[in-house]
């Protein structure tokens, strides 16, 4: 999240996401979901005779507009066998790698929730996290998706706190987690916060 009060990176900068790309073996359902259910604009489609390599299948590559110059894109590899594992494992690991889009307002987040529910998509309730409120759902391929509203802007205090948490994480788990627990890490963090407060006095 951009924050003008924090120092910027010293090297070349990234300006946002151009596209994220996934494989699909359900091209029709995928188009129906992103174009019709979500209502995203289909803005580009490429199709190619492989890439001149004998082992590269012919394919389509199509892009939906997800705002601010970003797109979500799909590859459909003609004649290849579906890979059921592409959406990743179920359970908590199944949500670890996911894609989260921005809703500009809380009203927009709620409007998305209503739209998805109305369209028959199984969608979570609005979940309140630190600084974010989010809804979660999956596309027809099983890919986990999120729409999130930034309830507040992150501040220098958030970044300073993050630095202490990560320092505590490295101290606690840097050598492999072994017998160490999240409690050990919170205790280490507590030591760091206390030391910092003592220094500031």
């Amino acid at each position: 999240m951009a924050n003008e009060s924090l120092p910027g990176p010293s090297g070349p900068r990234l300006a946002g996401v151009d596209h994220v790309a996934f494989a699909t073996w359900k091209p029709v359902e995928t188009v129906n979901f992103y174009r019709d259910v979500m209502g995203l604009r289909l803005i580009h489609a490429i199709s190619a005779k492989g890439w001149g390599r004998t082992d590269h299948p012919d394919f389509l590559h199509f892009f939906f507009d997800t705002g601010q110059g970003s797109t979500i894109a799909f590859f459909y590899y003609v004649g290849t066998k579906p890979r059921e594992d592409m959406a990743g494992p179920r359970g908590y690991l199944g949500m670890a790698r996911h894609l989260a889009w921005i809703a500009e307002s809380e009203a927009d987040l709620l409007a998305w929730h209503r739209r998805l529910e109305t369209q028959g998509v199984s969608v979570s309730e609005v979940v309140e996290h630190e600084a974010l409120k989010s809804i979660y759902f999956r596309d027809p391929n099983g890919y986990p998706l999120e729409i999130t509203w930034k309830a507040r802007t992150l501040t220098a205090a958030d970044a300073e706190d993050a630095a202490l948490t990560i320092a505590a994480m490295i101290d606690t788990f840097g050598g492999g987690s072994g017998e160490r627990t999240i409690e050990d890490m919170w205790r280490r963090k507590g030591e760091k916060v206390r030391a910092q407060a003592a220094q500031a006095k």
């Binding site: 309140e128 630190e130 205090a157 300073e160 948490t165 030591e191 206390r194």
Partner: protein
């Protein structure tokens, strides 16, 4: 005695406010954090904070002193360090 540091951000304000209302707990301003002390233990019930579960389970992210006796969807209970038990990280 057990203590909990809470980052002074809006989403954790209910946790701080709950501690301020609770006569068994003491709150102290501590830079970016509020330190909450309990004596002899520190107990906070989620129902007293009004916090949702997702946020509640991150309540200890600011760091703690002492040990966790109990931490589930309903209650956080911290106790003083176990006397004589080495922690290995001090």
């Amino acid at each position: 005695m057990p203590a909990l540091y809470v980052l002074k951000v809006p989403e954790f304000r209910p946790l701080i406010a709950c501690a301020e209302r609770d006569p068994r707990l003491r709150t102290t301003d501590c830079g970016n954090y509020v330190r909450i002390d309990g004596d002899p233990e520190l107990t906070i019930a989620r129902s007293a904070t009004g916090m949702g579960e997702a946020l509640w389970f991150g309540s200890l992210v600011g760091g703690i002193e002492g040990r966790i006796s109990e931490f589930d969807a309903e209650v956080i209970r911290l106790r003083a360090d176990d006397a004589g038990v080495p922690t290995g990280d001090e």
